[in-house]
């Protein structure tokens, strides 16, 4: 008896719990109205709605007329049916619209806000627009002015700006007050600009006509700057070439040489005006001439005209990546007499004090007055103290382009700067104090040491300015990877080469005919037998018997590409001590999966560079040599992997190359499409 009762109770309990699983289903009657039915088909909620959706978590969205709201399973309004739109729920909050007019699914003229699950306003619906959240921030518009809301539903930037940008990686956004839109370009012009952060804090107060950043090379690349000279400064024939539009590659090429250690005795500055290809933008570049070649010393630009392009859209413009964590500001349209703010919003240099302001580096910035004149005044400002570094300005004749000047100006680095005075180089600290003896050349610091030269002999000085390695060498070169410590310095003595460390110890004897810069833990050296590799401790990694050696990824790799007398690269197995592949015209190192991209040898092609393909360590062809472009062969390889194949035959590879391109979909209905674009 007991058992029976227990079992019955169990069954009943099950039935009861199961009924909770039963869902009300929306149903439409003959009059087109919606209500909800129980599972057995009986009416649970009357047919009172013009639209109804399924219940989710005990509530359903319903519409009466053109207003939406939510009801519960008892049919009671849990969110009043008064909204023109209710968006998705995220963490218990939904975007809503009130008022406005809907035509064809397009709601206009409504006011937007947010409500919680109880229908209580989280943000009162009084905004003409609330954009999508991007990195936790959403653009808002009220009364034709813009601001920002964060994803905690706090209005961090009130709607008082004529225009705003998008937040960049530093969490900064530009804002504009009192501006207008250029009808031709869509850019914001006039008014005053400022910079705020994600909390609404002021980084740069709104009050400047131009605000700029110091761009990285990558940012310049992306904006495709071009350069032309300004002929009000006398320029040499070489610089005449700069009058033509030169792409940023030119700038990069010379920026690279900034880190080279060949310094001339002569340097002078000229200002060139850079004009953006696309947007008539102005950038001032301060150029320094080194060994007769112009090197970009510093660059700054105003972004406001450019950046406002998409100001009204979620895809608003962001401030570009910068090299130096400062904003320059100017009260005039040309960006002259700039001031500086750091990224924390501290004014570190007041505007209107100097005609030209360079790029800050290591907390110091170069400034200039009477620019372009016979006596251009140059000095440095220590941004921490606000004081000039040198008591007396350096005077430079910027009118004369023949360059009999004997001053050099660099950026501060590691707290020091190399400057030349009366034809000699010295190390100065940030207080303008000389800390070294006079040299003909002082190079950049690496690992606390800098190369110095005097009377054609070179050695090393430390950060104290004192000589650490005597000037006994014919030449010295820093390691290739200047950001990797503990490298070796290439040294030349009596016509032969070797390597020393930063203490001056000759780690690799100076006995080689030629060497490459130390890189990836390896020294590539040329002995009478040919090229080979040594490690940092002078151990042989590869014997010196090759026409060339392709730098492997590290000293521990087993396989190294070597060039034989036929000028082709072969895969050399260091363990087996022999070549294990065919010869290729050009190669890349094998990756972790033991796969490498190579160019086949083609005697009829320029530089014998045949088509591209992929091979493995067994010299088997994985992707056939059908591809001319790097992008295509790489994509074919990726697609092969994605399709789970280990290799492609020629037909597969050919088909891949068709699918990789978009050419096949560019024809018209009346065309006879070339056979090579069909996969069958």
């Amino acid at each position: 008896m007991m058992y029976r009762k227990q079992v019955l109770l169990f069954a009943v309990a099950l039935f009861c719990s199961l009924s909770a699983f039963a869902e009300l289903m929306p149903d439409q009657n003959e009059k087109g109205k919606y209500g909800y039915l129980n599972e057995d088909g009986s009416v649970a909620i009357k047919y009172a709605y013009d639209d109804a959706t399924a219940f989710v978590d005990g509530r359903a969205k319903v519409r009466k007329g053109n207003k939406w709201g939510y009801i519960d399973e008892a049919g009671l309004e849990v969110i009043k049916i008064k909204y023109s739109e209710i968006g998705e729920w995220k963490n218990g909050v939904a975007k809503v619209a009130v008022g406005g007019k809907t035509e064809d699914g397009d709601l206009t003229g409504a006011k937007w806000g947010f409500i919680d699950q109880n229908g209580t306003d989280v943000i009162k619906p009084e905004y003409e627009r609330i954009g999508r959240f991007e990195d936790g921030m959403a653009l808002i518009e009220k009364g034709g002015k813009y601001g920002y809301l964060n994803d905690s539903y706090k209005i961090v930037i009130p709607c008082k700006y004529f225009s705003v940008g998008s937040f960049d990686d530093n969490g900064h956004v530009w804002v504009n007050e009192g501006g207008s839109i250029d009808k031709n370009t869509g850019a914001v012009k006039d008014g005053k600009f400022g910079v705020l952060d994600r909390m609404g804090r002021v980084i740069v107060p709104v009050g400047y006509k131009l605000i700029g950043k110091y761009l990285t090379d990558k940012a310049i690349d992306e904006f495709n700057l071009s350069l032309c000279t300004v002929d009000r400064y006398n320029v040499s024939a070489f610089e005449d070439a700069l009058r033509k539009e030169i792409s940023v590659k030119y700038v990069k090429m010379y920026s690279g040489s900034y880190r080279q250690l060949y310094f001339g005795n002569v340097a002078y500055y000229e200002v060139v005006r850079a004009v953006s290809n696309a947007r008539n933008h102005k950038t001032y570049n301060l150029y320094r001439k080194v060994m007769g070649e112009p090197v970009r010393h510093t660059a700054f630009r105003g972004f406001s005209e450019l950046m406002a392009k998409n100001y009204r859209f979620e895809l608003c413009s962001k401030l570009p990546e910068s090299e130096s964590p400062y904003y320059w500001v100017s009260e005039n349209d040309k960006g002259e007499k700039a001031g500086l703010y750091d990224f924390n919003g501290r004014l570190v240099l007041k505007p209107n004090e100097y005609q030209c302001v360079g790029k800050p580096s290591d907390g110091v910035v170069i400034v200039a007055d009477d620019f372009g004149k016979k006596k251009t005044k140059i000095n440095y400002i220590n941004l921490k103290t606000g004081a000039k570094v040198f008591q007396i300005d350096q005077e430079v004749n910027l009118q004369n382009d023949k360059g009999n000047f004997n001053d050099m100006f660099y950026d501060y680095d590691n707290g020091f700067i190399e400057l030349s005075v009366a034809g000699k180089c010295y190390l100065f600290d940030k207080n303008g104090q000389k800390v070294s003896d006079a040299y003909d050349i002082i190079g950049d610091f690496y690992d606390g040491k800098a190369i110095v030269g005097k009377d054609s002999k070179y050695g090393l000085i430390g950060l104290s300015g004192k000589v650490d390695v005597a000037l006994n060498y014919d030449m010295l070169w820093m390691p290739w990877e200047s950001d990797v410590p503990d490298g070796l310095i290439t040294a030349k003595k009596n016509g032969l080469y070797g390597y020393i460390d930063s203490s001056g110890t000759e780690v690799v004897p100076i006995k080689y005919r030629s060497v490459y810069h130390y890189s990836k833990g390896l020294c590539k050296v040329l002995d009478k037998g040919g090229w080979g590799l040594l490690d940092r401790n002078n151990n042989v990694v590869l014997d010196c018997k090759w026409k060339d050696v392709y730098y492997p990824e590290s000293k521990d790799v087993r396989y190294v590409w070597v060039m034989d007398t036929d000028s082709l690269y072969y895969n050399f197995d260091r363990e087996a001590g022999k070549i294990i592949s065919r010869g290729y015209a050009s190669v890349l190192n094998f990756n972790e999966q033991g796969v490498a991209r190579v160019n086949a040898y083609d005697p009829d092609a320029p530089n014998n560079l045949g088509r591209l393909g992929y091979i493995n360590l067994k010299d088997e062809v994985l992707v056939p040599f059908l591809f001319r472009r790097l992008k295509d062969v790489d994509e074919a390889y990726e697609k092969m992997l994605a399709d789970g194949k280990e290799r492609l035959d020629e037909t597969d590879a050919y088909r891949y190359s068709i699918y990789l391109g978009t050419e096949r979909n560019k024809y018209k209905l009346t065309d006879d499409i070339p056979s090579e674009l069909w996969d069958y």
């Binding site: 149903d27 399924a54 037909t651 979909n665 209905l669 069958y680």
Partner: protein, 434 residues
Amino acid sequence: MNRSYKNIITTALLIFALAQGISAKELDSEAMDYRRSSIYSILVTDTEQKFSKEIQEEFLKIPVPDKYNDMNLSVRVLGTNAGIASANALSTSHLLGGEKLAMAVEKAVGGGLNGHILNFLETNKVGGRLVAKWFNRDFRTGRCDMERIKDWGLYNASEFDKELAAKSARGMAMLEDAGEDLIGNTFVLVNEINYVDKSERSKNWGAALSVLGSIAEAYTGIDYLSEAGTLTGAMITTIKGFRVKIRTRLYQLEWNDSIAMDFYRNYYQSYDDEAGAGKFDAAKGKYTLKYIGDVTSSGQKSSFLGISEERPDLMIRKACQRALDENVADLQKKYEQFKIKAPIVSVEPAIKVEIGLKEGITEDSRFEVLEAQEKDGRVVYKRVGTVRPVKGKIWDNRFMAAEEMAYGADFGATTFKKESGGDFYPGLLIRQIK
């Protein structure tokens, strides 16, 4: 234990199990094997129209319609020249007003497009290329194989090879069967997609193109590089209400016993032979496609409920996919040879089949239940009953129905009730008759 106790426990457990959604015998139709027709789907579009680029991008993401094999070739998009621009582009702007005028114009001009399409299919030897794909033909060596046929025809691979090698009557029958049921059921869908321009009615479209033109960039975070043309300080844009009208034309590959025999005798080679390859290339033009008919979508707008504002690409995709699916369903109803068969996935506690609103099912639809029987190498379908959908239990399997929180989106299958016939079991196929 007393029998009555056992019954109660069994009943309770069974009810519990049912509530958990576990049925006694349920199969996954994806994993089920049954023969399908094949589709090659092409987009024909006016490249000058608004959103042309976006429509192309989204079209290429739409998979081959459900329950068909993918026979797509590399060329999927064709532009229309100004001279033969479809009347749809003209007609849509009149949709709100002169509907009848639009239809008349469409008939006059749009009909001409069929001629161009047939011309395209012939000039580019599409029929021959589809045949080549059936036999996995390597265009360099001419080598063919039967792998695709064996796979899609659900043949026992080794048995197939054996019979073929022996040139037995059974082997020949299998080939004929494959020809009729598979190769002969290869279709080309030519979809003419036109964007329904609202520009007369809304002032907010000016910059829409530029916003969407930067869809790609927006999601890589390089938005300030978007190549949006000259923005004129245009206002906020929206693509809610984005609509397309699609006209889909259906073509079928012509394949009969004599075409098949000619192919096997003269062009099928199971080894490399470049000379032989050249022979087929020259003869590709003899394989033709015939026009079956066409349908046009209703141009109904899709709700963008459930699509985040961050995804305008999904709005376009949804509008296109819904319209395409609608056309495929209409073509299935209109043309017998294009109908699909779908397997029954479970019969307890109810008959369930994984088809739904996407296939155009309504409460009034009726289906025959078919049993595939193999006889002497051929597969025949025998009707063993009829079923109809249960009211209120039709699965909404249209694209993004779940996001829209549409009723029935979470059913997973449509429930049917038997009208006639014996005991059904999972694996039987159903095909719409009304």
